[in-house]
Amino acid sequence: MNQKISKKDISKLLDELGKEFKVFSPSRESGVTTFAEWDGRDSSFLEWYRNTVISPKAQLQPLYEKMFSFHKDKEGYHLELPPPTDKKLIFGIRPCDAKALTIIDKTFQDTYQDPYYLDKRKNTLLVGLGCTNPYDSCFCTSLGLSPTQSSDVDLMLTDIGDEFLIEAVTDRGMKLIKKTSYLKEVTKTDEAKAEEARRQASSKVTRRLDTKDLAKRLLSSFDDQDFWEKVSNKCISCGICTLLCPTCYCFDISDELVKKEGSRFRSGDSCAFPVYTKMPMENPRLEKWRRVRQKVCHKYEFYPMSFEVIACSGCGRCIRLCPVNWDITQILASLPVKVKA
């Protein structure tokens, strides 16, 4: 049975959850919206939060992450792993960003388990918050998602006025509800209000991406250099669209050494950068159009070939945050080769 919670009780709820988990909620850090550790300040994010610039994926795959540290003594090198991850709870994740995690799980689980990401993933609860005020850059509905419903979270909240309706999506979510204070039983009217809120939210997502035969269409456009040159023309290879994309996961590995103490760390990387593929003698993606093609095809062609899911959840960040208004939905709509049905 669904529950509900009054909006004015959210701070108290987060305080309570904070006793068991490291709670992360939407926050403004130096002017950039992101998910930051809940410190009991206030729940004003409920008023301004649409979606964050830095997606909550950063809690699972941080832009900078220590892999292990090392030091040397007379016996040689000693390597040490970072301490095990805390139990985390992400409060307010949007369905698109939750789906993004389900998508990148595939890579981190493929053949070799990626311990850093998967440990955090296992120890992180997701509390979703339905999106009632999507941006015009959002196109989640084209990727089979709903802005207010999700199978990728543990709990799902829907705004029904002064309260949130709470649904348990997983057993973990159910267990959490059972031991949480401040919850009330829902009425038929509440359910009806939630239904109406969901309907309205979906109708506000108006941007469309036609995914039918998309991988096939991309495959047949792959060698059309003129097209890729044209659509990559204005891109300045800043990497924002990939570094802030919740379904992008590429990383670099580097070492850092101060005196005899050092560490190996990984950091966000982007296929938009020419150095990404640079080898001493050659670079297979030196030209910008090849890098743009790689980004687009990886998401909508290669990833579905490997994992049967498009590596995009329609969060719209790459459209919203691009400094030159590069628009993935426009580009995919203008693919030169059409596949006959």
Binding site: F68, G76, L79, P115, D269, H298
Partner: protein, 290 residues
């Protein structure tokens, strides 16, 4: 050739963490050419050697702590249990640092990664090895492997070339193979010097002159991409089908295990699905970015 079965490798992980390297010790350093060195190494925890399984053509990620990590193939053969070797050409920061190491140095190693050469495809076949420069490193592992199981294979041709006599790697092996009556060893250089009495000519050219028969044969070519690009057409002319041509591809790598993203060619990752491919597979690649 996907390497989906990694159960053998799982046992070998350090603390269940695939990125955590094993410590290995450099036991011997051999100067191959002015810019290339071979390093003999062994696990610091010597017991690990017994558990360490690898195939010819597989690679590892080697690291100097504080400097970084890079992929190099294992240039010794799994049939020579007492040997673990890798061979490095000096081109950048890590490779230069490796060249500065001396015997006894402790470095990081994780692997083996990649698919390795398809030995079952080579059995009962005439084998034509074509290598240029440091491209002999992965092939050398395979060549010794084949020699150590000589009766499983038929004729062996080895065509190896380098820019100059000084740039020939593994001269001690070349001598051995030259003496071996069961092998047709052809060494060539792009440009000779005063003392060079052997052949002069580019590898693809020499391959055309040697003209090994494609009948019941497989050609395995490793070398700079420019050499490979010219070698495939020659092999085709000699009657080799794309299925009979094998090569290794090189891309920039970081993770070595299909996660960090950078070594893809279309939907494939060279680290995970390669680095060994038949030309038939390469022809089917979506992309020409290799």
């Amino acid at each position: 050739m996907p390497v989906s079965d990694i159960s053998y490798r799982k046992r070998f992980l350090t603390k269940d963490n695939v990125y955590l390297p094993h410590l290995v010790i450099i036991e011997k350093i051999i100067d191959e050419t002015p810019d290339t060195r071979t390093f003999h190494f062994n696990f610091k925890d010597k017991g690990l050697r017994e558990e360490f399984p690898f195939k010819s053509g597989q690679f590892g990620e080697y690291s100097i702590f504080g400097i970084g990590e890079a992929p190099f193939c294992i240039s010794s053969s799994p049939t020579r249990y007492d040997r673990l070797e890798f061979t490095v050409r000096r081109v950048g920061s890590l490779t230069n640092a490796l060249h500065r190491l001396s015997v006894g140095a402790e470095i990081g190693f994780r692997g083996p990664y990649g698919n390795g050469f398809p030995l079952d495809l080579l059995e009962d076949k005439n084998l034509v090895f074509v290598a240029g420069g440091i491209g002999l490193a992965p092939l050398r592992s395979l060549i010794w492997n084949v020699i150590d199981n000589r009766d499983k294979y038929k004729n062996i041709d080895i065509i190896y070339g380098a820019r100059s006599p000084a740039d020939l790697c593994f001269k001690y092996d070349l001598k051995n193979w030259d003496k071996d009556k069961s092998i047709n060893m052809v060494t060539t250089v792009d440009k000779g010097d005063k003392t060079w009495k052997g052949r002069v000519g580019f590898v693809p050219q020499v391959l055309e002159e040697v003209a090994p028969s494609a009948d019941s044969a497989v050609a395995i070519a490793c070398g700079p991409s420019i050499m490979i690009r010219f070698t495939f057409p020659v092999l085709a002319k000699l009657g080799f089908t794309p299925e009979q041509m094998i090569t290794t591809l090189e891309k920039r790598m970081k993770c070595g295990i299909g996660k960090c993203g950078r070594c893809n060619i279309g939907n494939l990752y060279v680290c995970r699905d390669g680095p060994v491919f038949t030309y038939a597979q390469i022809k089917d690649f979506i992309s020409d970015e290799y």
